[in-house]
Symmetry: D2
Subunit: 369 residues, 4 copies
């Protein structure tokens, strides 16, 4: 199979190159880059020396040569390439936000006022979160499908809340998602916020109540709630920048409905540590929900999610806890933002699309350090 | 004035030594350490070479020689020294948890089942959060006072929630505190969790719903709420370890009462960015609350708290935001856990106790990097 | 094929487990650990959940079940296991220093006065630096061979100096190796020196003129020099600890013989940057020396070695430069200390021993971040 | 006294602002910035909120209002301001390279071909390394002096080699300086090399044999050697970037003359660890050389320099060792690159110039973490 990557020299693009070059089904790889056309990818990323050697072409050349095209471009410029692919019944897996929303108004409101240029493409495109939409993707490679690959924060946030929403254990009040991301999330272009001395040895929130991933998360949670005939929750999302390269840790606070609350303890007294009661029931519920998912790990009792347990892998780790009063579910999730949060998930989508083993090319064991 | 530090070779103790050695009122400094008795402090911390030279004595010698004694000991072993000080009408500023609780049951339940050995000492001791209890400390040096210096997490958490609680703008539901700490918070003793390769380049929560600082935070919030004749809130506290040396960033989610909510926006649409409405009112309320506090900075509109803005200083930075739905107040606070979260606050307490300028010895401008 | 790892829960052991579990020729994996016998490896390293599940046995059980045994033990306790293996004609790849020296006196002098307990085993054992001794290892699996896997520093240091020594371009004076290592080099046991707050945000040398890897480096360089009929050089080796997880960067200063010096420039004037003259000749010489080596990359003109270019891979990157006066060769090398510096090289040795493709199980492309 | 800073919003400029605002002799502070003229410094650096409030003026206004002017500008644009100061008999302390060289040819060759625009200013200007030129600076504030503040690398490198050169213990062969710097050394402007994901968790050399600080170091060493009637040494300088904010660690290899060598040991055997022989003699020689220096600390036997021991201070720590063969002196030095390597040294120069206590404003004890 022949795969192409448009925008191969950004971080997500280069990670795609790394993954696809080791993918057992990918026989040829075509890459493009506006900034570095004519260069070799291994000149831009000397990490690839002796392993990957590939010239950077024009996007059109990549599309012509490939069976599936990944686009790792800034928002708002990939639609025309998607149109080109669909015309040739080739699938297009877009890592930007351009195909994440059915509702153009939401996209326009959050993404610099941009309008869809090819509105018809958005009707049949699929939001590529496999745990939500696998059935809409599976085996459609012959037809040519546009997949909007999810944002990094929405992936870790949604997977942590899905089972609770589907099963209807959520009570009144907002679901609060407090997320901590590594700096690769900011992309490859140097900027003050990601300048080493400005972000090393420090943690800070940013874009409080105004991050573009907020509506994507809220939409995902609403869709899953609706699948269980439950109401859409209110969502509060706060991203933070942490001094690490990769990873997103999401701490998710979900108010429980009355029947799922543990008998309330005194605010001031410690809980008895034991694996029983509502917390254990809810963990079981999460395990059941994800029992066939190849990349979701519900952690055993006693562990919490940690970004260094999923490093370099496509896993999403999830841990389930009850707050000290028994009224709120605390879920922690960890993903590698470049893998399950971007390139890894895109490859997972390709695998589903082409009826490959969903784990093909994604079997890396999380690096220990 | 003569100051003593018992337990001078732990991280908080050494930070106290650094601060006290530069304090304009401290003429003599006496230090003790069980582990390193007979050594010089500058042998244990070569950073101090050419600046601080001081032999490590016995605790009893330190008490005998000092006008005020700081104890930076593990929990449960300082009471006898406190008793020794009070007998001589010397003040005792304790950085452990031993004097943070009036209610022995809470202490016992959370601190390894320990009982108070000198219950009478706890009647007159004061919880040393100046923004709460300054009036109970001020000028009492002649009498001899025991001060329980607050925990690091409780300091950053409480200061962020106090104005809302006092002013009664809090509505139904739990106050959720999601805190991210640097690794010095774990102390000087090597342990797997703080071994460089285990915590570098990673973020993870720990002791979810079971951290010892939970009851201290809940108690503080209840006390301040009561001062405004408001009910005690439910509190959920989740600590995280972040790969940085110093600092605690607390992101605090406070449900607003109906009258303080902004007209609700659609969950899926971006807020208009402007400094007006309820968010501006609440920022004003916070500014008023802290207007005379020397170490609390309410950040101007547009900024969030960041640990690298308070580094090496005794400041607590606070930013105030409204969630996207207008229903929840999002407060972020940043402190240096070794300063306002430990040694700096202890010196602040000493300054209050002795009627010194509260900023004496604590005027360091936050280091830029 | 069946592989065993004794000491599987230390860092090098766990990295071996990770590599061997993905190795195309390894069908069964047996692990032992004194500290965690009876546990599952995935309990100790939850990174492995859903990918590797393996009980920790006794060392003897591992030896009985395996065709090749890797030992990742502290120095001085593996000889008896080696003896057990050899008796059964099974090969033993030892990651400790126990089989790195023919000369027992050197071993004894540097390793706590320890004596060889099975001196006869050391006669036929091979120092497993493939670029030096591949021919002594290749295909010997039937006979049963003991391989002393090289130290991390000696690997990066030796590979950078070998071509110069073999080709006889080295002049008078010491070869100086200034090496910077990540913290995993210190192993998994917590210790003050590797406690996060003690080593983060700082660089420092340690064991100047007294590190155990010094004699191993000096020996390697002498052996290679002798292969070219050149005299053994004097070696100065200084290790440093840098705040990173993985990697060793070695900067190697090699005095050139008169004929290999560039026409000397003024000490105070900049060199003309161009890829010609002696520097280019020497780069060519290095390229030729390593042209058939699967894991050595001589970097193109303009690049220097960097630890983040070999991260998670078995590569040793090498760059070649001339000092400003043209009198000294400056070589920089980068390895991942856990891969080419430990577990990766051990697997490479296994591949050679068993006549497998030398790259089997070691094809990971260096992770970009 | 009134101090001015031109270029106050770069890293060195801002660090100057922080130091000068706490300096006991500085009563008024005037700042300028081309990029942010009209803003307040505390808007650019919110760290300064509540402590420093100062409008950013034009450079000319700063010069008019100040008794001494610090310039923290890019190379090649400060001369005209220096001229303006000298005309008014005000001193000018320049943190750029513009006044570091008497020899214009060297400056021109290394700094983009730039020529001196006011050659006469360079005749009386002084290279402001106090340990070399204090006597040329002391008390000259009335006359108006231009001081070329040294580069960061040259400071740490020169101080480590000076005693050996003055005392004539240096033998044949190059002095090799292998230096490791924190990322603030690259300044405040974002660039790929200093983008967090590109430099975190990695060490790499850069500008091998071609860094601009090379001729400054070589010149300094030649000057000091000449003071002892010794020949100028050949110098090799290799800078590295390490993942830390502040600090430079320099490892300096100095060949010893025959009489200063320790009786040579076998290359392969460990040295006896003891504080005696030539190493002890040389340490004594270093102690004597620096015995009156307020900011140089010769570390006691058993310690090495470490950047986290001088953090936030103006100290230069120096340790002295003998290589394993007794033929080479290994000196390690550590400075905070923003302090002794830039702003701190500039303030030290001001103190000398104005006959203040040389330590005024520079008494910070190195931060422990």
């Amino acid at each position: 199979m022949k795969a192409g990557v448009i925008g191969a020299t950004g971080y997500a693009g280069a990670e795609l190159v790394r993954l696809l070059s080791g993918h057992p089904k990918v026989e040829e790889l075509y890459l493009s880059s506006v900034s570095f056309e004519g260069n070799q990818i291994e000149e831009i990323y000397p990490n690839f020396l002796n392993r990957i050697s590939c010239e950077l072409l024009k996007a059109e050349e990549v599309i012509a040569a490939s069976d599936v095209v990944f686009a790792a471009l800034p928002h708002g410029i990939g639609e025309k390439y998607a149109a080109g692919c669909i015309k040739k019944k080739k699938s297009f897996i877009d890592l930007s936000a351009d195909f994440r929303f059915d509702d153009e108004d939401i996209y326009t409101a959050w993404y610099d006022g941009k309008k869809y240029q090819y509105p018809e493409l958005h009707i049949d495109s699929v939001y590529g979160l496999p745990e939500l939409n696998r059935h809409k993707i599976k085996g459609l490679f012959k037809k040519g499908l546009i997949i909007g690959n999810p944002g990094c924060y929405p992936t870790g946030s949604s997977l942590g809340a899905f089972p609770a929403l589907k099963k209807g254990i959520v009570g009144e009040g907002p679901i609060i998602i407090d997320a901590k991301s590594g700096v690769t999330g900011g992309g490859r272009e140097p900027a003050r916020a990601f300048h080493y001395p400005e972000c090393a040895d420090s943690v800070a929130p940013y874009r409080i109540a105004s991050h573009r991933h907020s509506p994507e998360i809220a939409r995902n949670l609403a869709v899953m709630a609706a699948e269980g005939n439950n109401p859409a929750p209110q969502v509060i999302f706060t991203p933070h920048l942490a001094p690490m390269n990769r990873g997103i840790l999401s701490t998710i606070y979900i108010p429980l409905s009355a029947e799922w609350r543990e008998e309330s303890l005194n605010n001031l007294m410690p809980p008895k540590a034991k694996n029983e009661g509502k917390a254990a029931e809810i963990r079981k519920l999460y395990e059941d929900f994800y029992k066939d998912e190849p990349f979701v790990r519900i952690l055993p009792y006693g562990l919490t999610a940690a970004t260094n347990r999923v490093r370099q892998s496509n896993f999403c780790d999830i841990s389930v806890h009850l707050d000290i009063n028994g009224s709120t579910l605390i879920v922690t999730t960890a993903i590698d933002n470049m893998m399950k949060g971007a390139a890894g998930q895109a490859v997972q989508n390709m695998n589903i699309l082409f009826n490959y083993d969903e784990k093909a090319g994604l079997e890396a064991i999380p690096a220990l350090f």
